[in-house]
Symmetry: C2
Subunit: 360 residues, 2 copies
């Protein structure tokens, strides 16, 4: 009886980050951009010819590939686009990591890497960050089935330069190396200039963070011919049309508005500088961030307690109840107004003033 | 040297259907709806608050689940939405078909089923349609790891009633049975009323055909609690946010415009009736269609030749160079004007008049 249940997928249910039901709160827990997308995106969507929606989208999102190829100065045949960088990364794992040897990535990094390894039966090994949360490139000089480096890394916020990526590439000529650059636009150094030298390098990027388009699901990969061909094959064995026509049009519009994009990045970086200083002033310890978030601990207060206190002030930051990082908070850079509210709340908390949880 | 290439995915490259580079042609080869989506969809997109796009979409597209739950009279927790029914079906295969026994589906049906089996290492067996291209339900009374029935079937266009689906379900209490209803809205009979009796039934539908939204990528599944839970788990191991915010809003708008939807379906069905009669008048042989396309052969002309001839008239229909169906054309129901042009071209061809290829 009910034998069909035996064949259902057997994986632990995913526990999503907290999304409060209310609407009037300060949301600094999902690394979303606090600023809206470019006005050109608004025009592209609000004047979109919906009659065209009766037809399938361009299967490879070629207009967007061309816009991105032009933007980054690469042939568009070396660009692949998908339904958010999660879709693109999952397809990369499937397309590139078909080895019996374990793939390598840091113990503290984007939490979806092990999820895809489990889904795709890819063996993996995690290599510990050092005590300052830096990736040790020398650790990656060992036999493997592939390497994934998130740079700047999440949730540590630490970005490393091209020399660092080059060290990893030079030790891994026989593996595909994915560099996940979800956050690179906020001041990291992109590995794109290395593509000409390393045909085994795949650089993955997203419109979700720096281009304020998390809601539209656009991610992409830039790589050499062989890797892009493998990605296309992986896509076509899953879903021929991952990007809808509106997203393609809006993505093109976003890529066309360089001034708006730059000014948004500058605002976020300026706010980040200000918040970093304010946190340090209050005794928080945190590395310089190359991303749109900070990763901070405080020697005198438990991160979980601070997180709980901020919730009482309707401010949501991210706390990870995980080994090595359970003393930290991941704080997304919001608008200046949001960050002012955060700073006030934290000043109140760390000064031991009104807050009943403080002063342990 | 280049050992990384050994670990790339090894599957045959997909060959896409022909998409002529020109724009002024009659496209009856992709089963797209000839009419635009509802004006409410246009409003939803053209007045979409793009500022919200900086945030991630609702991970489960709950507003759309609620709209669909209400539309079909089921609790919204029994609805799952994804990036087109290809995404939903691929997730169904992964979520439901984890058996060593082969899954079963017809030899002539939607061409993506074997693609997903290969991708997911699912063993499968295809069971031949009878000579009239009907599925024989008694064939499915054998041990299996799951069953997939496209009803109405593609590319045959033949729809079967609830008794037929019930026969298959009654023989398969130990397997999950997926009924792929991509085309059911054009006059087929949906299996949704059987959901209460069969917790192992999953019904998959799409906005691409009847709702004129192929360009937006919205598919969904309605099923019992266990199957939907398994689908959610499969989704969360691949891509948390498959549906973007604009698609969610537009999908809700489409579901709200019943009058427009009905009138579009009626127009397509009327044109289908007219084209069916005209084709039979010219000697074509074809079953009654429950879909938005016809599947026709002609005893005196080769399908490939007719297809080639129509191209010279800038009319594109679909020809499959595959065993058992290489004598047929799959013709999408277009607007009345498009179908008039098709009928004229075919009359010219079958009367052996001006056409150099005819009269073999």
């Amino acid at each position: 009886m009910n034998l069909w249940k035996k064949n259902l997928i057997d994986i632990a249910p995913y526990v999503a980050g907290e999304q409060p039901d209310k609407t009037d709160f300060i949301k600094l827990n999902a690394n979303e951009n606090p600023y809206p997308p470019s006005p050109l995106v608004t025009s592209a969507i609000n004047s979109f010819d919906t009659e065209s929606l009766r037809k399938y989208p361009d299967a490879n999102a070629v207009p967007l590939l061309k816009a991105l190829g032009e933007y980054y100065g690469v042939p568009y045949k070396n660009v692949f686009a998908g339904n958010g960088s999660d879709d693109v990364l999952a397809l990369c794992f499937r397309a590139f990591f078909n080895s019996d040897k374990p793939i390598l990535y840091p113990d503290i990094t984007y939490s979806f890497y092990p999820v895809w390894c489990h889904m795709l039966n890819i063996p993996y090994e995690t290599l510990p960050l050092d005590d300052d949360f830096n990736i040790r490139p020398e650790d990656y000089a060992r036999e493997n089935g592939g390497v994934v480096i998130c740079n700047p890394n999440a949730p540590t916020s630490i970005g490393r330069g091209l020399d660092f990526i080059r060290m990893i590439l030079d030790e891994n000529k026989d593996s595909v190396v994915i560099v996940d650059e979800a956050y690179v636009d906020f001041g990291g150094e992109s590995a794109l200039p290395l593509l000409k030298e390393y045909p085994n390098l795949a650089v993955v990027k997203t419109f979700s963070k720096s281009r304020s388009l998390a809601g539209l699901r656009i991610g992409f990969c830039i790589a050499g011919d062989e890797l892009i061909s493998a990605l296309r094959a992986a896509k076509d064995s899953y879903n021929s049309y991952p990007l809808d026509s509106v997203a393609i049009a809006a993505g093109c519009a976003s890529a066309a508005d360089e001034d708006y994009y730059r000014s948004t990045l500058e605002k976020i970086i300026a706010t980040r500088t200000r918040l970093t200083a304010a946190l340090r002033e209050m005794g928080f310890v945190l590395p310089d961030s190359s991303t749109n978030f900070l990763f901070a601990s405080h020697p005198e207060y438990r991160a979980a307690d601070i997180c709980g206190y901020l919730k009482t002030k309707d401010i949501y930051v991210r706390y990870f109840d995980k080994p090595r990082i359970d003393d930290r908070l991941r704080i997304t850079i919001g608008t200046d107004e949001e960050i002012d509210a955060l700073i006030s709340a934290l000043q109140e908390y760390t000064s031991g003033g009104l807050n009943p949880l403080a002063g342990r």
